[in-house]
Amino acid sequence: MYRYDEFDARLVRERIAQFRDQIERRLDNRLTEDQFKPLRLMNGVYLQLHAYMLRVAIPYGELNAKQLRALAHIARTYDKGYGHFTTRSNIQFNWPALVDVPAILEALAEVEMHAIQTSGNCIRNVTTDPYAGVAADEVEDPRPWAELIRQWSTFHPEFSFLPRKFKIAVIGAAKDRAAMRTHDVGLQAVRDLNGSLGFRLFAGGGQGRTPYIGQEVSPFVPAASLFAYLTALLRVYNRHGRRDNIHKARIKILVASLGIEKFREEVEAEFDALPKASLDLPQGEAERIGAYFAPPPFATLSKNSDAFDTALFRDPDFAHWTHSNLKPHKQPGYSAVVVSLKPVGGVPGDATASQLDLVADLAERFSFGQARAAYDQNLILPHVRLDEAPGLFRALAEAGLATANSGLAGDIISCPGLDYCSLANARSIPVAQALSERLSDPDFQKRVGPVRINISGCINACGHHHVAHIGVLGVDKQGEEFYQITLGGSADETASIGTIVGKGLAGDAVAPAIERALNRYLDLRSDGEAFIDTLRRVGNEPFKEAIYAVA
């Protein structure tokens, strides 16, 4: 993985010193809250319902064992013993005191982490495919490009005060495992007929109150021109994006109001006028950064493992877990393992300090010291020998990290909701918990197969409900929580926005309604048809009927 050079290290240390001073001035009242708020937000510090919240960036989701241990230490020392992984592959601490923030940032800097650009109207943490460098279908490892974008965008003076926040995702394969088209800019690595690397570039995706799927701006931006093209695009946004209305300030509104053709014309005109030589990637830079992401020293193995096959035969729980939580690896004899942060009845994305420490140990024992945070709020050990999967399974299971539900009905994405968030209108976690209990039968989940169920506690859609196969949106009616169900969203390469099926349900009615919808799918599906395929074939109506059927 990438390691800080002297510039990264200095920049992070200088920012901590600056923010420490700003906190001191706030505490002795030399800064008012109005003056201080934008400064703390630039450093990832929010004020939520009960306490401050610190959002720590996990660049493109990549973590090493030392970093996991530092997160565990922070959770234990400065929080209530846990952290919460988000849909942007960040981690949030819900209870830090403002006075402790400098010490927390020091602990993060020790392991080359920070909370810079996790808030504010700047380019946020760049996300990617959690199976980067693992999946056999990728044309290019997206991580070096995500890192290059991180370096380019960090403290970028021209793009630090955009009309609104700006999120970029990079993928390296045609299959989208990073919800790329829900981002302000999405990049898909592609190769032209000569084999040269470039990016298919999408813009104007986003969720929130006006969701859009990103549209293609260019089918091929040559890799060397990527930063000139991004500069042109951000300049167009910076110039024309609305600053008068926070609800209309994201680039998705600009793209939608100009239309994609006009937007593309503007970007191309800006691109043509740029002094590109100064923005092109220096010769050898992509290779230099790419070297940090070289494959680990894999053993040469056969693609089958006797130890694995024996365990499959002897241990039905292990066999069951492998079906959902082991993902294919391009290296023979290896697999990527999903560490489930979705225990039955648990809080999606929460990990305790001891779980974080354990994942660090297991990463060292089984996965070359590497782990990843994925946008579905799970962790991944990317490079596990099939031989060693049975041992890993037992260690994870003991710590409650081996729920066999990756990609299944129990793998619910949920924002923190009104239990923590000052923007939320309704609680998300209790609904996720009730649903997870209701759908907990592993055989039922296996029968239903892949389905994405996501819950947001307000229209800002941090829980990605718009792009769920089954989405749940919490709303407030006169102090009572209701939940609208959406159907037909998708965050993959067939991205779509779900539609609301009808009037909101009471919180305790959500889980039974979704269970009925899943049963309706089992009745309606043809052979080999996944939930979303059946839904797309037959339409919402039969599912709507099931959702509103009186039990």
Partner: protein, 90 residues
């Protein structure tokens, strides 16, 4: 009637203005303010940014039950998260 609430600057903890004009962590000790005193109390709180962040008034009825729209939010602020690792065990 109204009550006055804010977050504590140092750690963000939820506070209510009590009968004795002191800030308390306990919702039960929140003072009921009438229209005349509420605005003055809010103004005083806003003048004390060295202690408080984002003070605001909450509408309550006679038995100190928070009105409609804000009811759930204020209940969660008073009691802590209703779910998850930091839920208060009783």
């Amino acid at each position: 009637m109204k009550i006055l609430t804010a977050n504590r600057l140092t750690d963000g903890a939820v506070l209510w203005l009590g009968e004795d004009a002191a800030w308390s962590r306990d919702f039960e000790s929140a003072a009921l303010l009438d229209a005349a005193t509420a605005d003055g109390a809010l103004a005083a709180a806003q003048d004390d940014p060295g202690l408080l962040v984002a003070p605001y008034l909450v509408e309550v009825d006679a038995d100190v039950s928070v009105e409609k729209r804000e009811r759930l939010r204020e209940a969660i602020r008073a009691a802590g998260p209703s779910a998850g690792h930091s839920r208060k065990r009783t």
